[in-house]
């Protein structure tokens, strides 16, 4: 004798409706070592304040720093093609950075130290803004200086 008076089929249908839409399988990413220190110290970076900011918010600025380094680490080239690469990388690095923070979430044992995601995003935007204003991200590659033609027959004397 059924005592609960519930229609089992109806219940089954309702259970399907409230089931999570997608089983988001969160696969913990393997630990990825991120180089936070620049390989080459570029003096104008300090002048634009990135070094000071990285001390305060190391995690938040990693993406911004890396985006800048990507642009400036290689030798300047005559082709302007490298410049758009930085713009394309910056949003991707932001997304990666967001994924890192999402997977980490809040530090359970020191919850006060974890920055809210919105604050981290604000800081990244501020860094990108400053970089843009400084002309780092949008500055086109300078055209190579035209070298003065060497006149035939002239040999520089020591």
């Amino acid at each position: 004798m059924q005592v609960s008076w519930i229609d089992a089929d109806r219940l089954k249908s309702l259970v399907e409706q409230i089931a999570p839409q997608e089983e988001r399988v969160v696969i913990s990413p393997p630990v990825v070592e991120i180089e936070t220190a620049p390989e080459q110290v570029v003096t104008w970076q300090s002048a634009h304040g990135f070094a000071q900011e990285s001390a305060a918010d190391e995690g938040a600025e990693t993406a911004g720093m890396n985006a800048v380094e990507t642009f400036h680490a290689p030798e300047p080239r005559s082709e302007p093609e490298n410049v758009p690469v930085v713009e394309a990388d910056a949003p991707a690095s932001d997304a990666e950075h967001e994924d890192e923070h999402d997977s980490r979430g809040h530090a359970l044992h020191n919850p006060g130290a974890a920055l809210p995601l919105s604050r981290i995003r604000d800081k990244l935007r501020a860094i990108r803004q400053r970089a843009t204003e400084a002309g780092i991200l949008t500055r086109p590659a300078e055209p190579p200086k035209e070298q003065a033609p060497v006149e035939a027959g002239t040999v520089p004397k020591d």
Binding site: I6, L11, P20, L108
Partner: protein
């Protein structure tokens, strides 16, 4: 941080008792818990502190928002804080715009997160009124206490229908599970109801643990304390809520982060 609401179609199923004891268990397990009473009857506040009757609380926050620290009440357990219901009648006279309630709730949860809460546990009024609906929709999970009694159990499909509607409206709240309450283990009919429900619903929708109907819970409510504090050493029934807390951690993924960081513990250092 995760936000968990408790909801039921009818009153008297043990929501407030569950919230108080579950909040205490979670806090003892090391989580920073904020227990919020959204029930106009103010069961949580009345149970825990006589002074909570006169305090501002959740409903004042609905009316005028503001700083959460004004309405948070600390407890003797540093990990457990409470927001009592507040003065519902006075607030109802002032009124609050219904369309602002979701934003206020979002502010409350954001404030809780900034305070470092790991879990926000929200006790609600019986039924699915406007405020309770908004609270459930604002949360990540909902726990559904369900009295193990033939007539009471008929409300399960209604509740699931409501949640299906929420899902269709885009709310992301998920069912952590249905928790059988007031199970009378000496009554065959009560056990039969529990068995039938477990047979009809998938295991992931039903808490393994259930809450029996015991005099000690009434005694705890009268004293205004969690069951674990009614005696010097917690009575056996207090451990029921530890079990529920452990299950909840797994169902909501709350313990995943901690397990990832710490793994197993050694007995000897």
């Amino acid at each position: 941080m995760i936000a968990i609401a408790t909801a039921s179609q009818k009153g008297g199923v043990g929501k407030t008792t569950l919230c108080i004891n579950l909040a205490y268990s979670l806090a003892r397990r090391g989580w920073r818990v904020l227990l919020v009473d959204t029930d106009p009857q103010g069961g949580v506040g009345l149970s825990l502190a006589k002074s909570a009757k006169a305090r501002e609380g959740f409903h004042e926050f609905l009316v005028r928002g503001g700083d959460l620290s004004r309405i948070v009440v600390p407890t003797r357990l540093p990990e457990l804080e409470i927001i009592p219901a507040g003065q519902f009648d006075a607030c109802a006279r002032q009124g609050w715009p219904a369309h602002e309630v979701p934003a206020r709730l979002a502010d409350l949860l954001r404030g809780a997160e900034l305070r470092g809460a790991d879990v926000v546990l929200m006790d609600t009024a019986a039924g699915m009124g406007n405020t309770t609906e908004a609270v459930v929709k604002a949360c990540d999970f909902v726990v559904l206490p369900q009295q193990a009694e033939p007539l009471a159990i008929r409300s399960v499909p209604h509740l699931l229908e409501t949640l299906a509607r929420f899902r269709a409206e885009g709310a992301g709240v998920r069912v952590a599970g249905i928790l059988l309450t007031m199970v009378m283990r000496e009554q065959e009919m009560s056990l039969k109801v529990a068995r039938e429900l477990r047979e009809m619903l998938p295991a992931n929708l039903m808490f393994q643990q259930s809450i029996p109907r015991l005099a000690s819970f009434l005694e705890a409510s009268a004293l205004g304390v969690p069951v674990a504090l009614t005696k010097r050493n917690p009575p056996p029934e207090a451990l029921i809520f530890d079990q529920i807390a452990a299950e909840l951690e797994q169902r909501t993924g709350l313990s995943k982060e901690r397990e990832r960081e710490h793994g197993h513990a050694s007995l000897l250092d």
